[in-house]
Symmetry: C2
Subunit: 160 residues, 2 copies
DNA sequence: AACTAACACTTGTATATACAAATAAAAAAA
DNA sequence: TTTTTTTATTTGTATATACAAGTGTTAGTT
């Protein structure tokens, strides 16, 4: 019943039904917010058939990147794409689905060794082309120089 | 104990410690994600001393914009900046802090009339200059033409 | 008038996230 | 060696959000 986010097709002023023109600084803030929400929503839709949240997928990607070496909680947390309050509970969910294993590190019993299972690797293989397509899809409307420019401007904006 | 998000000072590749260069489409996706996270984190910090979440502030802004007219749940939800699953519970929180009032609409008892209180208006007045400063702060590093360009590119990107 | 559908909102469940406190093991200091 | 501190992780509580189901009210249909 509740609305989805505003996605494609509108300018910021239309979206919030503003009567007064917005300052450019406010427009950009909202634009970034909407764009991120849209990206995230589409990504989560992609994960849904696999019963994975975006965060869970991200953990699996990190574990695959370890190429067989176990990852502890700290390492997973450091590599998470965005923020992560609670790697423990994320790994719990993956464990229940048999996508990872978890064991206490024998050398240092404070640490935990997390490994991706074959089932986890299979799920990722399945998702790989879909994720690539998802990523490329957003960039379709812009030319390569425009994409480079957008990236540069975002980095400059962010590093204020 | 847990890490905060990556904020200023890094390029995407540094942030995720990638060994292989990222495709531009992936870089932009991550850049937008980080930028939004940073914005949001700073905004929430601003709200913290007032014991308001960003969403709660947003509802108060909508109610103030009503200029004395009551807002029902549907209207609030429609005007929310991003997404909103659960206006009811957001308004509940504001009610507990005496920042809004809530009554059943006498003409249509399915509807709820929400109004901002004087206390709510006072909190917003206090926050106004701080929010403005927060918003302008992000745009400092870019020139006006660069800001316009960034805004245009984001809109084009989003409307794929 | 009784039945059905639509509407407006509420409630329940699950995940994600922030923050703080708790636990357990290891390392450092006394 | 005992005590203290640091490290690694877990647990608890609160908010935000997605989604589905439930409740009460009004409108529309037969």
């Amino acid at each position: 019943m509740y609305q989805q986010i505003r996605t494609a097709g509108m300018k910021i002023e239309d979206e919030i039904k503003s009567t007064v023109p917005l300052a450019i600084s406010k427009k950009i803030i909202l634009n970034i917010l909407y764009t991120q929400n849209m990206q995230n929503e589409k990504f989560n839709e992609l994960m849904k058939p696999y019963d994975l949240s975006g965060e869970q997928y991200n953990v699996l990607r990190i574990l695959r990147g370890q190429k067989g070496n176990p990852a502890n909680m700290n390492l997973i947390q450091e590599r998470m794409i965005a923020k992560t309050s609670n790697t423990t509970r994320l790994v719990d969910k993956l464990l229940l689905k048999n996508l990872v294993t978890r064991n206490v590190c024998p050398e240092n019993r404070r640490k935990i060794e997390v490994l991706i299972t074959q089932k986890g690797l299979d799920v990722l293989s399945d998702l790989d082309p879909k994720v690539n397509e998802h990523e490329d899809n957003f960039s379709k409307n812009l030319t390569t120089p425009e994409l480079e420019l957008l990236n540069t401007l975002l980095e400059k904006y962010r590093n204020h």
